[in-house]
């Protein structure tokens, strides 16, 4: 950084201060008597750069305003990095209010506004701040040791950055250790909570198993209740069917047919079987079988009905056979029928009549033959010689060539044969007549039999449509049935209960009683079942309450388990965090060791470099008398005294030499700062550096100032006076006069 111009109004002693056109390389020699305003110039420069001065703290800036003025201002133009020119302007009033702006020179748009922003940007451009400036680039007249604070040395050495990181890591380690301690405390409190929680691993499983068993028991009870209900419903339905069937049976009477008895009895038996099925299939293992009396009654009644039905079946079969015989319905092939019998008789009669007719013809022919043969024999025998007898003999000879009269007896014999044939025919005809009469009698009998059969069929049919009692009465009056005896026997015995009013009333009363007993049994069974259901329901309700209790305990146990898991998760997370923190601490520990080692190396080499530079610069300001210096790690200087032939401490050296050495140290520090911030040319300010120098030393020191380093290009030097022979033509000489409150230097010329 090189100062190009410094302009101020109403600051310190100056109403107007203007130094412009300052050379980037060379000496600026400010001289004047005490209180002439020399230091005010460099204080103004410092104020312009950093907003404060070496003598004034930040809260004392109002004192910088010229006495009696309300405000003051300073405008500083400097060359920054890459030879860019910047202008910083500051305004402050007597109350200490400050304003500032920074811009590239020639531009109106500021780079930064406000004191803080401008200070930050100036520091960034310069590469150093106020403190470094004061301790390296600015040598105050009252500075007695010339060295910088350790922090500044570290910054110059490049250690500050590493050291700052070392301290940052130390703080982080401390913070992490505190975090670990806090985490350990937290872990301990979590462990206490876990102990208090006292979670048993198997507790939840036990509760869930108990709940499962209870649920199964409740489900079993529910199934039992449903089974009881199903059994009760089934029994009720079967009982209703039995009652209905029983009532239907009880409505049977003398007007009922056997089919009706059978159907109703069968219905009741079926209903009882349904009840048996219900009782047998019940899944509640209840030993119940209501209606035993009814079953016995039906069982007793059933054979009577079966027996009667069997008899009536036989009657019906008989009637069927008669109908077939009568030809009312077709029968099986070969089965005898009335029509066949009648036809057979008729055929026999016809045959007999034809035989009788043939017998008549035979009789007539036999009689005619016997007459003719008898007559011919008589004529031939007894009227021989007659014409007639000759004619007959001729005819006989014609018929039989061997005829001779001796054969006349043969004619008579033949006549007798014919006569016998006639007699036989008569006998045969007589027999046929008798046969025909017999057949006609059989036909009549058959007709009567058929008529009788028709009447019986008709009566059977009529009886079949009648109630059982009348049917039996009609049938028992019929004759000719093989079943009649059995029917009569049944009617007098087993069937009496169905046929006689008194017996029937007793039967029905007995059935009624059995029905009532059945109803009572059913009612009792249903009461038992209701009691069982109620007991199951009650137990179910108790199990429901137990389930609720178990659910509550399970939920509580689950919550405890979740809490346990959460606590353990927190512990685990804390463990992980602790592990990570421990690792981070270890990492930072190693980092610190490495940083400290690197810092040590940096410091060592920086100090070596600084000592090298001081050792080289010191002879420039001591006329070569102190070429051997010893500078310790704290930059404490010891010089080799040729008189004492030994190194002497800084305090033992004369004040003049001490200041000369301090100047060398300060220039070394300035060089170090310049090298640290970059390789741009740098200005330095030396306030009364030669106060104890003699003229020769001042002159030589002035000459040496610009030769110390290429980077220390612009050197501001304050002194009481600079002799004319001091310096050279390139120096800017500014003489401050105590009585003047205005100072203007333009292009190296004082106006």
């Amino acid at each position: 950084m090189i100062i190009q111009a410094l302009q101020a109004e109403n600051l310190f002693k100056y109403k107007k201060l203007s130094l412009t056109g300052l050379s980037p390389r060379g000496r600026i020699l400010l001289s004047g008597a005490n209180e002439s305003g020399k230091t005010a110039i460099v204080e103004t420069l410092c104020l312009g750069l950093f907003g404060r001065t070496a003598a004034l703290e930040a809260d004392q800036l109002a004192k910088a305003v010229k006495w009696g003025e309300n405000h003051g201002s300073v405008t500083l133009t400097f060359l920054g990095p890459e030879a860019q020119s910047y202008t910083v302007s500051r305004y402050l009033d007597s109350k200490g209010h400050c304003q500032a702006s920074l811009s590239r020179t020639g531009e109106t748009e500021p780079l930064a506004k406000g004191v803080a922003a401008v200070n930050q940007q100036v520091q960034a451009l310069a590469g150093f701040g106020f403190q470094h400036y004061i301790e390296t680039l600015f040598l105050a007249q009252n500075d007695q040791n010339g060295t910088a604070r350790e922090e500044t040395i570290q910054a110059l050495a490049g250690v500050a950055e590493l050291d700052g990181l070392t301290h940052a890591f130390a703080e982080e380690i401390e913070t992490m250790q505190e975090q670990i301690a806090a985490g350990d405390l937290h872990t301990a409190s979590l462990q206490e909570e876990l102990i208090l929680l006292d979670l048993r691993e198997e507790a939840l499983g036990e509760l869930e198993e108990e709940r499962r068993r209870t649920q199964e028991r409740a489900a079993g009870l529910d199934r039992d209740r449903q089974r009881w209900q199903q059994f009760a419903d089934g029994m009720q339905q079967a009982a209703t069917e039995i009652e209905t069937a029983s009532n239907r049976l009880l409505r049977c009477g003398l007007e009922s047919t056997l089919e009706s008895w059978q159907a109703r009895c069968g219905g009741l038996e079926q209903a009882l079987q349904s009840m048996d099925g219900v009782c047998h299939a019940n899944q509640v293992e209840m030993d119940s079988r209501p209606g035993e009396g009814l079953r016995a009654g039906v069982k007793a009644l059933q054979p009577h009905l079966s027996q009667g039905a069997a008899i009536l079946a036989r009657v019906a079969e008989h009637r069927h056979e008669m109908a077939i015989w009568l030809g009312e319905i077709p029968g099986k092939e070969g089965q005898e029928s009335l029509q066949q019998a009648q036809a057979q008789i008729q055929t026999q009669v016809q045959h007999a009549l034809r035989q009788r007719k043939r017998s008549g013809v035979l009789i007539a022919f036999s009689l005619l033959g016997a007459a003719l043969l008898g007559a011919a024999g008589g004529v031939v025998q007894f009227q021989e010689g007659t014409e007639l007898a000759r004619s007959l003999t001729m005819a006989l000879k014609a018929l039989y060539a061997g005829w001779d009269p001796s054969l006349v007896p043969m004619l008579f014999a033949l006549a007798v044969v014919f006569l016998l044939l006639a007699v036989n025919g008569v006998a045969q005809s007589f027999g046929l007549r008798r046969k025909i009469a017999f057949l006609e009698g059989e036909g009549d009998a058959l007709d009567e039999q058929a008529e009788d059969a028709r009447q019986r069929v008709q009566r059977m049919d009529g009886a079949a449509r009648e109630p059982l009692a009348r049917q039996v009465a009609v049938l028992t009056r019929l004759t000719g049935g093989e079943w009649l005896g059995e029917l009569q026997q049944w009617a007098d015995g087993a069937g009496a209960a169905l046929l006689e009013e008194t017996a029937q009333r007793q039967l029905l009363a007995q059935l009624q009683g059995q029905l009532e007993s059945f109803q009572q049994e059913v009612a009792e069974d249903r009461t038992d079942m209701a009691a069982q259901q109620a007991a199951a329901l009650q137990e179910q309700q108790l199990l429901g309450e137990e389930l609720l209790r178990l659910e509550s305990r399970i939920a509580e146990e689950q919550a405890r388990r979740q809490q346990d898991q959460a606590l353990r998760a927190q512990q685990a997370a804390l463990g992980v965090t602790r592990q990570q923190l421990t690792h981070q601490i270890a990492v930072r520990g190693v980092a610190r060791e490495l940083l400290q080692g690197a810092c040590q190396g940096l410091s060592t080499r920086f100090n070596q470099e600084l000592r090298r530079f001081i050792t080289r610069a010191a002879p420039l300001f001591t006329q070569g008398r102190y070429q051997h210096l010893r500078i310790d790690e704290r930059l404490q200087v010891a010089a080799f005294s040729t008189i004492k032939n030994d190194f002497v401490d800084f305090d033992e050296i004369s004040t003049g030499v001490r200041h000369q050495l301090l100047l060398a140290v300060r220039l070394a520090l300035a060089q170090a700062l310049a090298a640290r911030v970059g390789h741009d040319p740098q200005f330095v300010v030396l306030d009364e550096p030669f106060v104890f120098f003699d003229r020769q030393r001042i002159r030589e020191s002035l000459e040496a100032l610009l030769g110390v380093s290429d980077q220390i290009a612009q050197v501001w030097v304050i002194a009481q006076e600079f002799a004319a022979e001091m310096g050279d033509a390139g120096d800017l000489r500014v003489m401050c006069l105590g009585e003047e409150d205005s100072l203007q230097v333009e292009q190296g010329r004082v106006r």
Binding site: L102, V122, L165, V590, A598, E609, R616
Partner: protein, 71 residues
């Protein structure tokens, strides 16, 4: 003062880059520990080096950002 007595201004004040110094030192330390300590945790060492370099880069980046804002 003779020319020999003058300091060699061509040989300017040498300052070292702290990052480079640190990197070199940590490499040397790594090599030394590896050679001398069987139980040396090289991973921990490298992690520490990476952490330092990262922090230094961040600081450097912040300064550069401030500098760019000004220039």
């Amino acid at each position: 003062m003779t020319d020999q007595e003058r300091p060699n201004t061509q040989d300017g004040f040498q300052v070292e880059d702290p990052v480079a110094v640190f990197a070199a030192f940590s490499r040397e330390e790594l090599r030394r520990w590896r050679d001398t300590e069987p139980a040396f945790d090289a991973a921990l060492h490298e992690e520490a080096v990476a952490l330092v370099l990262e922090r230094l880069r961040k600081r450097s980046g912040n300064r550069e950002q401030q500098g760019r804002g000004a220039s």
